[in-house]
């Protein structure tokens, strides 16, 4: 049974890889929409089968399925959409539905942190940079008409899909096989709440990891400032310093 589940996980990953490979934007011979849809449906079916076997009669399955399908669909569109701004927005969708999945299992703090950090800060910067790089454009003449050349054609579709989905398949196989023990000691009560318990665990059992993460972030910040720091002179060399009212007219000392 276990073994079969592992193979099912591998099969789902392989079908997903095929679907994503077909869906990646290509200028030469893009796969027909029917092929892509069939592959996506097959991959989703395999995944649902796997999930059904894994979860059994676990409750809240409808929400779980809807949210995980949203997450996966968004993630696929992140890599296959030819317009970077839309890809970034699909990334936002992935983050939001992942946060909702976390709420579903009772990890509200992680959900809020994910939304604040990723959707609220990092992805805003992504969108910001992408928008600075590209002007928006009318969409007439097909979706590909306005996308730039390097967005219309994915660069190494085969290698990327292979690497990505081998990783996905391996992780899925391990998760399916893994015996989840040692979690009981971190069980929380409803009265205490997960946030409080998480804070306590992070600052006692895992204090060193938290400190190290903080140090890493500080180092990264210092590095960023050191790279970006550059003194901009208020005046060009040789140019006389003028009071604001005097700028534009020559003031001769004699």
């Amino acid at each position: 049974m276990e073994q079969m589940l592992v193979y099912l996980a591998y099969a789902a990953a392989a079908l997903g890889a095929l679907a994503v490979y077909a869906a990646l934007p290509r200028e030469g011979r893009p796969a027909s929409r029917g092929v892509v849809l069939t592959l996506v449906a097959a991959a989703v079916g395999a995944l649902l089968l796997l999930m059904g076997q894994l979860l059994g009669e676990a409750g809240q399955r409808v929400y779980f399925y809807v949210l995980s399908l949203l997450t996966l669909g968004g993630a696929v569109r992140v890599v296959t959409h030819p317009r970077p701004v839309y890809a970034a927005l699909f990334f936002v969708m992935v983050v939001l539905s992942t946060a909702a999945l976390m709420v579903l299992v009772g990890a509200e703090f992680l959900a809020a942190a994910l939304v604040i950090v990723y959707a609220g800060a990092i992805l805003v910067t992504y969108v910001f940079v992408i928008m600075l790089a590209q002007q928006s454009a009318p969409q007439s003449g097909g979706m590909f008409a306005q996308a730039l050349q390097y967005d219309r054609d994915s660069r190494e579709p085969m290698a990327a899909v292979l690497v990505g989905f081998v990783l996905v398949g391996t992780i899925a196989g391990v998760i399916v096989n893994y015996e989840w023990t040692g979690l009981a000691e971190y069980k929380t009560t409803a009265a205490e709440g997960n946030t409080l318990a998480l804070g306590r665990v992070l600052l006692t059992d895992f204090a060193v990891s938290v400190e190290l993460a903080g140090l890493l972030l500080t180092v990264a910040m210092v590095g960023a400032i050191a790279l970006a720091r550059k003194r901009i002179p208020q005046h060009d060399e040789g140019e006389p310093e003028l009071a604001p009212g005097e700028i534009g007219k020559r003031v001769s000392p004699f």
Binding site: V85, L89, V92, A99, E108, F109, A111, A112, A113, V115, I116, A119, G120, A121, V124, T125, V127, F128, M131, L132, Q135, S136, A137, P138, Q139, G193, N194, T195, Q234, E241, L242, A243, P244, P253
Partner: protein, 432 residues
């Protein structure tokens, strides 16, 4: 008399009167017929929350419409004018006229916009402005008159979640997208400049905002907003311990709502209208509604965090009673406090001039962030050593003192590039 009867206002008022009577009669009939079922629904927290969220939505939309009138009236008062006074007595029907105008205007979608994002952006900013209301504790715990005295009380709050405050932070951090997408999809340079300014500004001011909120979290040791107000009812409002943090929270809330000293994103003189230049009719109205809804949410947040929420010192019945009347009174108190803050927002808008962009960034990164960091450190020390609570106020005073000494000793003005200007002036004076 004839003039009064012919006036359209008279017709409108009598129609409203008939409508109100009809509603009352209808409600009474429905109540007498289905009172058991209605009571059963109202007793259930889930259905009550759903009803409350609908009621709050209506109330807040009304409040938003009238706060636009209030804004115009306050601006008129500040500038020594009358303000809108044509529609209805003292202009009280002006919001209805404005709303009708927005609804009936032609809804233009320019030819060269990125259509899907252009349509989504106003909704995005509008929804984000509204969903924050869910965790604000508007009225506290209460029981209906027909409920048993020992039944578990209902909570006049749409959702009482474990991470109440973080939820608000998460939601408000999503507010940038509406602005950025609206500006970018318009395919207009001015809109785009506005969106870029807004994004940089909102990202920068989120940091002092988060830290000012963190000071409140550290002081109370809680994340649920209703427990934080409870704490303040017992130990005194947090603004007494941390006045600087309260002020910083207010300043950053102004910046997050793109309100006046911080409204570079839509500055008319430079950018026409900023990110909503290309929008018209109801979509434009939604940007405004979102702005005002955001003002109400952030005022409610400030009230809950630093000004005691529904608490009024010395009024025992209001603070502790679990009757429905006390709940309504508490909602009224909350509404009054929010109203005061909104008036303050508006006075600030019509009093202070707009910042220059470098001043805006300097204020966030060079003064607000270090100040809030110092406040967090002060509060952390108090929590760690379990010290006397009023050390926080002393620490605040010391911080102000250090800041004053520092700014006097360094001899630099804190407004932008003024120091180079003054050096040039000094040279000029020496030359003369």
């Amino acid at each position: 008399m004839e003039f009064v009867r012919r006036h359209p206002i008279f017709a409108a008022l009598s129609a409203l009167f008939v409508l109100a009577i009809g509603t009352l009669v209808g409600a009474a009939v429905i109540w007498s017929a289905f009172s058991e079922q209605i009571k059963a629904i109202l007793d259930d927290q889930f259905y009550f929350s759903v009803i409350l969220s609908l009621v709050l939505f209506g109330l807040i939309m009304g409040a938003v419409a009238y706060s636009i009138l209030l804004e115009r009236k306050i601006s008129a008062w500040v500038q020594d004018r009358y303000g809108p006074n044509r529609v209805g007595p003292y202009g009280v029907l002006q919001p209805i006229a404005d709303g009708l105008k927005f609804l009936l205007k032609e809804d233009v979608i320019p030819a060269n916009v990125d259509k899907s994002l252009f349509l989504v952006a106003p909704w995005m900013i509008f929804i984000v402005g509204l969903v924050g209301f869910a965790v604000i504790p508007w009225g506290g715990a209460f029981r209906w008159p027909w409920m048993d005295a020992d039944a578990p009380p209902l909570v006049a709050q749409v959702a009482s979640v474990d991470i109440g405050l973080l939820y608000i932070l998460a939601v408000s951090s999503m507010g940038v997208y509406g602005v950025v997408l609206g500006g970018w999809s318009s395919n207009n340079k001015y809109s785009f400049y506005g969106a870029m300014r807004a994004a940089a500004q909102m990202l920068s001011y989120e940091i002092p905002l988060g830290m000012a909120v963190l000071v409140a979290i550290l002081s109370t040791g809680m994340l649920r907003l209703e427990q934080m107000t409870e704490y303040q009812a017992q130990h005194g409002w947090l603004v007494m311990y941390h006045p600087i943090a309260a002020l910083i929270l207010f300043i950053t809330a102004l910046a997050e709502a793109n309100r006046m000293p911080f409204d570079l994103a839509e500055s008319e003189q430079e950018l026409i209208g900023g990110y909503h230049t290309e929008y018209s009719a109801m979509k434009l109205a939604m940007f405004f509604l979102a702005e005002y809804a955001h003002m109400i949410t952030s005022s409610a947040l400030i009230v809950c965090l630093y000004f005691g929420g529904t608490h009024v010192p010395g009024w025992h019945w209001l603070n502790t009673s679990e009757s429905a009347a006390a709940m309504l009174a508490r909602m009224g108190v909350m509404g009054a406090k929010v109203f005061l803050f909104i008036c303050l927002y508006m006075l600030v808008r019509w009093t202070l001039p707009r910042f220059r962009y470098d001043q805006l960034m300097r204020l966030a990164w060079k003064s607000l962030v270090p100040l809030t960091m110092a406040l967090v450190v002060i509060q952390v020390l108090i929590v760690y050593f379990d010290a006397w609570r009023w050390w926080a106020l002393i620490g605040n005073a010391a911080l102000l003192l250090v800041g004053a000494v520092f700014s006097v000793a360094s001899g630099r003005r804190i407004t932008g590039r003024q120091h180079s200007l003054r050096r040039a002036q000094g040279e000029l004076m020496a030359y003369r």
